[in-house]
């Protein structure tokens, strides 16, 4: 089985979720080729060998420095054919998911996104995917010879299995028609840790009483190396930026640890956090529905608990 992995990068570095995609492909067995597009540091590309890539292709054309969905799909589909690939693996993201859809349509491949574990190939090619926003799973068989699978965060454990590999330049034949979308500028969100990729998330809800009280959450997040999130009412009221909204129609997170402070736990919020490994809920209302979905809970005043928790974690580090 030949597996092509599309690896995403940001500012020259390979994204963490793409390392998971390489590790996932490696664990599937078969021969793994990684494909990176645009500006990526050479050491980063060579390092993909450590996670299981046997070959690394790099299409370095500067037109590919920006993630134009149509153009990326064209390059990836062409490489898939050039490499005689059977399966394309990519990580589900704001770029990976829409690109994967177009590649599958181009190739006439079976498509599954939000895949949560390795395919079962004992009879056919079966994948388990998350549906109903994390509230259920579907087992589906992919019946076409070519397959495209998007993996959900935490579908594979990233571990080193080998050493560096050399990088092969990939000459992409680019067509102007694929660049009709012109990316004019980009805006970076504030904060050091990106919410969708964070291992720890500290979120606040209406119980925080106002944007001026967020310093406690930010300090705790800083201590933990965590991203900050919030509930929908909080972003709707403009207390926090929209990209921090965790929930059904916001960001779905899958961290190791999710700490919810002053969030009651409406079912729409839970839909965004139900893939978290461990959930801590701090709320002054003992009847808050979030406690039913939590691993650990504290009933109490957030303004009293936050600084104490921050100190205790600092001391434990």
């Amino acid at each position: 089985m030949n597996i092509l992995v599309f690896v995403e990068s940001a500012e020259g570095k390979i994204k963490k979720n793409s390392l998971e995609a390489v590790a996932f492909a490696q664990a599937m067995g078969g021969s793994v080729t990684a494909l990176a597009l645009g500006n990526v540091e050479i050491s980063e590309l060579e390092g993909l060998g450590k996670y299981g890539a046997k070959k690394v292709l790099h299409a370095a054309d500067e037109k590919l420095n920006q993630g134009v969905i149509q153009a990326y799909a064209a390059v990836i589909a062409k490489a898939f054919q050039d490499e005689n690939s059977d399966v394309l693996v990519l990580s589900d993201s704001s770029l990976g998911t829409p690109v994967g859809a177009r590649v599958a349509a181009k190739l006439g491949a079976s498509l599954a996104s939000n895949v949560v574990e390795l395919p079962n190939t004992s009879a056919g090619f079966n994948v388990k995917r998350s549906i109903y926003t994390g509230k259920a799973f579907a087992h589906v068989e992919l019946t076409k010879p070519k397959k495209v699978i998007g993996i959900k965060k935490n579908a594979a454990e990233v571990k080193e299995v080998g050493g560096n590999v050399s990088v092969t330049p990939y000459q992409a034949s680019l067509s102007d028609a694929d660049f009709s979308t012109k990316i004019t500028s980009a805006e970076k969100a504030t904060g050091d840790v990106l919410l969708p990729e964070a291992n720890i998330v500290v979120s606040g809800g209406r119980g925080m009483k106002g944007p001026e009280h967020w310093s406690g959450i930010e300090e705790l997040a800083k201590t933990l190396g965590a991203a900050t999130g919030c509930s929908k009412p909080v972003s709707d009221m403009g207390w926090r930026p929209h990209h921090e909204h965790v929930g059904q129609t916001g960001v779905k997170v899958a961290p190791q640890l999710y700490i919810a402070i002053g969030i009651s736990g409406a079912i729409q919020h839970l839909a965004g956090v139900n893939s978290s490994k461990c959930i801590v809920v701090i709320n002054k209302d003992a009847d808050a529905p979030f406690f039913k979905a939590a691993d650990y809970g504290i009933v109490g005043d957030a303004f009293d608990i936050l600084p104490k928790l921050n100190e205790a974690i600092k001391a434990a580090k």
């Binding site: 993630g67 969905i69 704001s94 859809a101 599958a104 079976s110 589906v140 729409q268 691993d295 928790l309």
Partner: protein, 245 residues
Amino acid sequence: MKILVCISHVPDTTSKINFIDNNTKFDTNGVQFIIGPYDDYALARAVELKESSGATITVINVGLVDTEPTIRKALAIGADDAIRVNAEPTDSFFVASQIAEQAKAGGYDLILMGRESIDYNSGAVHGIVGELLGVPSISPVMKLDIEGNTAKLAREIEGGKEYMEVSLPFVAGCQEPIAEWKIPNMRGIMSARTKPLKVVEPSTVDSGVKLQKFELPPAKGSVKMIPADNVQELVNLLKNEAKVL
């Protein structure tokens, strides 16, 4: 300008998810169905564009006859006419193929839908429709303005936003805050009853995706409560029991 808005008919976000027939079928018992929340944003933006610069809006849904109340709601919100492709929406490629076929016949300037449906969450239909029509597809779009033949958009990416320009026609998968959800008024509801709703039969498509069964996640264990005056205990548990610190 002709706008096509694709809507999904999905369980309300508060629904309990259950399966029947040996875990092969979704249990609709007691479930209320709604326009997909992301599709609702797409529809709301289409109605705003119609109000500001004039447009006609066609909504399309791939679904069986039970989706018609959901389609009528979209008509009540402000769409002018509707197409229902009479088939179970089994997977992204199947749905996208039906939409692409109708879109080709209708010659739309703009095709809007949600970034994903909230039942299967694939987030693939916009990309496949774009590919089948040979036009750009952009998702997730959080801002969309049209000036003449050009659109200016903002796309949400991990850790920020990207701003872009693209010529019509194209496909966009939408999300908040592209527009505010619209609630139909009485006049809209009345007029929706008589707006044209065309039912067409699906074309045959092999998407290469076959459902085997559904599964519910294991029930969550009970929560461990910690006294508010003992945060040290929480830190110990996170470190030694949950092993997440």
